[in-house]
Amino acid sequence: MAEPVAVAAPPRDDALVGRADERWLVAADLASLAVIGGLIFLNIADTGGVVRLAVALLFVTFVPGWALARAVGLAGGLTGLAVAVLSSLTIGAATSTVMVWANVWHPILLFAGLAAVSGVAILWALPPAFVAARLRR
């Protein structure tokens, strides 16, 4: 057997463990609120087209999960992004399927509920992150 070879540990990957950067959190919060507001407007105005399609896609892919990640403190780094996307798709699919199974199909009501809960959760988390981002500057 040859002599032991000393090899250093791999580098600590900050993004992996999710050290949140408040500026990114604030940006994502504001973007999420904009998506909620935009989709509410587009639904009330009942306009179709590519813009509504894109905004709806952003909502179902990101917003509810992002709100959840913010609420439980998992919104930092790539892990936060993973939790946000995973949770958003899951929340959307799970709630819409439950509506289908329960025979209570109210898609706009579901959107209103998710938008309200997400909005409140994000608005709750936004001020401390905003202050921290200002301090960082």
């Binding site: 040859a2 995973l86 289908v100």
Partner: protein, 621 residues
Amino acid sequence: MIGHRPAAETAAAPSARVVAPAERRLGVLGRFAVADALLPVAAVLWLVAVRQTDIGKINDFGLVPALPPTFFAALAVLIVSFITLLSQERPSTVRLALHLIALVTALQAVVPLLFPLPQYGYVFKHFGVVEYINLHGSVDDKIDIYQNWPGFFAFAAWFDDLAGQATPVPYAAWAPVYFDILAVLAINISLRALAIPWRARWIALFVFVIGNWVGQDYFAPQAFAFVLSQWVLACLLTLFRAAPAPWIGRLEEFVTNFARGVYVKTRPLVTPELTRRQRVAALLAIFVTFAVITFSHQLSPYMVIVAAGVLAVPGLLRPRWIVAVLIVIAGSYLITRYGFLKTHGDLILSFNPFKNVENPDSSPNTGVFGKIVTGYAARALSLFIWVLALIGAFRRTRAGTSSLVPLGLFFAPFGIIFGQEYGGEAIYRVFLFSLPWAAALAGVALAPRLAWTWWASARVGISIAVMTVLFLQAYFGLAQVNYTRPDEVAASNYFFEHARPGSVLILAAPNYPERGSEIYNHFVVTSGAYDPKLVPNPEFTHRVLGADDLGTIENVLRSYAPHGYFAITTGMKIYAHEYDLLPDGSLDNLDQAMAASKRWKLFYRNGDAVIYELVATAPPK
């Protein structure tokens, strides 16, 4: 705030430390890079290429003959640009990610930009279920398999409502772009957790995109479930990865020493330590997501269970009871579907591994020459990636880093072929679920261990170029078959608007936009996932069909319903030609025979489709 705890892990390759993961500083582009000029050039070339593409030139070899030289030039510039980034010491994540998104777009946005409708006739069945849910607000599990696994369809119906769409048709063709980007994002996180060095990781993501020839990323439950599965695995690997059991540590050390010939000590890898609240939230998210996978697609949950099991047995995933919970969730749902499975169990379970790996779509031994070339391109691409993966596993092990997890995840999906067939799709699922890990190891094989060299540029560039060429043929080789013609959809719509409810539609051959209506259940829905077809039934293949077959066709129809229709389309003729199932002109001959028969009446005809209605009330003599 999230803390850290060490977990025993064999060492990362020294190369992993030579170039630090510099892309950490997201959004900081830094100074000008050559790629900043090359990427826009590639984008412009690609846009020009799409405008120049003439889909009239599609033939037995698929879309490739129709693509202009600018398309290949665009891909070549993109690959060169990507390599210039890899050669840098500290490229930005934004630039690398833009190249990956450009690759996905260059390959997957071609179809929605070139063709007026989503490709694959069978995708219209999915539209039918989504529209059914939007119409009824519920599902009926007696109708078909899709209504028994409604997760994806309910989600799509909800999305349609939010997006102001009456049907998924306008956006469904873009599904591969969406699903592929979400998938590579998740896979990137998994590869980080596996301590794949940054160059190898980005090469791996490229390999995943150009290796994914199986076309399982269209608007379908399996694509949705695959993305969710990758996110579940990413969360498990990132948040619940643990030190391996002592016996596996010794085994790893033995293998590593065997490959390297020197003694290597295990050393810690940083994994996150969660607070109790975060841990409960993450576990809940994983379990609920897994439940969504379970009621969205029949095969995918078992792929996740197998992968999680591979991690749990050696203790790399803790607590191990996570796998038990996954099994309970999947098993419980399967029990609730007992009534359906009692009559359709063959769709899910099949314990014949030889039969389960069969799939005529990818078989290189059948069909016309172009189809055979496509089949071999797919096999060559798979083999290329698998060989690279084995080389990568050897290199990684030799460098002192464990390959146990990626190898285990790579081989685990193959276990599924002993239990499931699912209409020939099982082999596709096996390849797809093994691909991220095969790509990871392929990335390790191609990336240099130390500094970037000209040899590394050549090795990576040539390998990616070869794989891209194989991908283009493997993925687009059946474009002629997969192309959905507007006239065929018009015929299908006419059928649903005017046909007699309770009747059956018999197809001359596969490749028809079937069941694409919210009222598809008003007609006979057979036990399988498709409408009944003559071809490829051996009784109706490899000969010219004509008047002598009309009696048999009528009997087939009457075995499903007393009244019905029979459809022949251009897509069916091309399918029969491409798979060499009928002599050319055979279905035209059948069309003429039916037109001349008094037992059949013309119901609808346009340039690409004809539908006949059975008008005879008494069975043929």
